[in-house]
């Protein structure tokens, strides 16, 4: 079974066809998706800007992480579920869309950056933000990369909506 037949099977599944043929399901899922990604991006940006020393200078990094991480994860789960359902309704069309593939690639990169950050960079996080301690350059670079990626990801998402008719599955 090749990849293409998987996307075809998903699109023709009961789930895919139900969403595609419903008048309200796709826009409703899109609405939840937008609210969820807006929350993900905003919460991640708060943390990134703290790492870069741009905001919340008077707060420990750990305290900010405590506030933003649960919000990020709940919203990300919601975005992933709604995103997958949207994908199921037009899987073959999305898989030939370069902006969709770029969006996925940037999200993988953002995920790897986050894993790397939490596993290696964040070791000394407890002291970051205490008087007289500096945030290491590696953490700042990680924050900058994350901030940039999460600005490009919604851009790719928006362009997908304008190019669905341009790239069509063969």
């Amino acid at each position: 079974m090749n990849a293409e037949s998987i996307w075809k099977g998903l699109e023709n599944s009961a789930l895919g066809t139900t969403i595609a043929s419903s008048e309200w399901m796709f826009p409703t899922l899109e609405t939840i998706h937008v609210i969820a990604i807006v929350t993900v991006i905003g919460a991640i940006a708060m943390m990134d800007m703290r790492l870069l020393g741009l905001t919340s200078g008077n707060r420990a990094v750990r305290a900010l992480a405590h506030d933003t991480l649960p919000v990020t994860w709940v919203a990300f789960a919601l975005a992933a579920v709604t995103g997958s359902l949207l994908f199921a309704s037009k899987a073959t069309t999305y898989m030939v869309n370069p902006y969709f593939l770029w969006k996925l690639a940037f999200m993988v990169l953002a995920g790897l950056n986050m894993v790397f950050f939490h596993r290696y960079v964040a070791k000394g996080m407890d002291s970051w933000g205490a008087p007289g301690t500096a945030i290491p350059l590696s953490a700042k670079l990680s924050g900058l990369l994350s901030l940039g990626l999460w600005m490009i990801i919604p851009f790719c998402g928006r362009v997908i909506g304008f190019t669905l008719g341009v790239y069509t599955p063969s």
């Binding site: 609405t31 609210i35 807006v38 905003g42 940006a45 008077n58 707060r59 305290a63 919000v71 851009f155």
Partner: protein, 180 residues
């Protein structure tokens, strides 16, 4: 009458107003033509619009969670209010400017669209409500943590404000799906 029929009826009503003439005139503006003919222009402004609602929404959410006593308890409510308020209103400014650009990019599709006007009404309510909410929190912030119980109205308001902004975002998404 179904919801779709009702929205369609409202669109028909909008078609009888001077908004038609006005929106057609706007679509001939050089800036409108520039936006229409440059492929990346509209998605770029939409992204800016999304990024600014991200800042506004999460700042509002963090303030609400602080009011509810869920988050940020290492800081006083007055500090949290000052921290988030500046971002909320700066983001709103970017939101309005990018929104106006998007309005100019597709004037007829927006102005002859009941969902667009519902969104504008919801937006006005959300902004007014935010002003009232922040003012009420500010007045009580000094004594808030001394007597953490009570403030039921403000706790309820902190949830209502999140629901309101979600409704504004929903309005934005559904502009594209108005029955015409």
């Amino acid at each position: 009458m179904s919801l779709g029929d009702w929205l369609f009826h409202l669109t028909e009503l909008l078609r009888t107003t001077r908004l038609v003439e006005f929106s057609l005139r706007v679509s001939d503006w050089p800036f409108a033509l520039w936006l229409q003919t440059h492929f990346y222009a509209i998605p770029t402004f939409q992204t800016l619009h999304i990024l600014s609602i991200a800042v506004l929404f999460v700042s509002t959410l963090m303030l609400s969670l602080r009011v509810l006593g869920v988050n940020g308890l290492d800081q006083g409510l007055d500090v949290a209010l000052r921290r988030h308020r500046a971002w909320i209103w700066s983001a709103l400014a970017v939101l309005v400017v990018s929104g106006i650009v998007l309005l100019i990019s597709e004037p007829v599709r927006n102005m002859i669209n009941p969902i667009f006007w519902f969104k504008m009404i919801l937006l006005s309510v959300a902004v007014g409500f935010s002003l009232w909410f922040q003012q009420s929190v500010r007045v009580r912030s000094a004594t808030w943590d001394v007597s953490p119980n009570g403030h039921a109205a403000l706790r309820l308001a902190s949830v209502a404000i999140i629901v309101l902004w979600c409704a504004v975002m929903a309005g934005g998404r559904w502009i594209a799906y108005a029955p015409v």
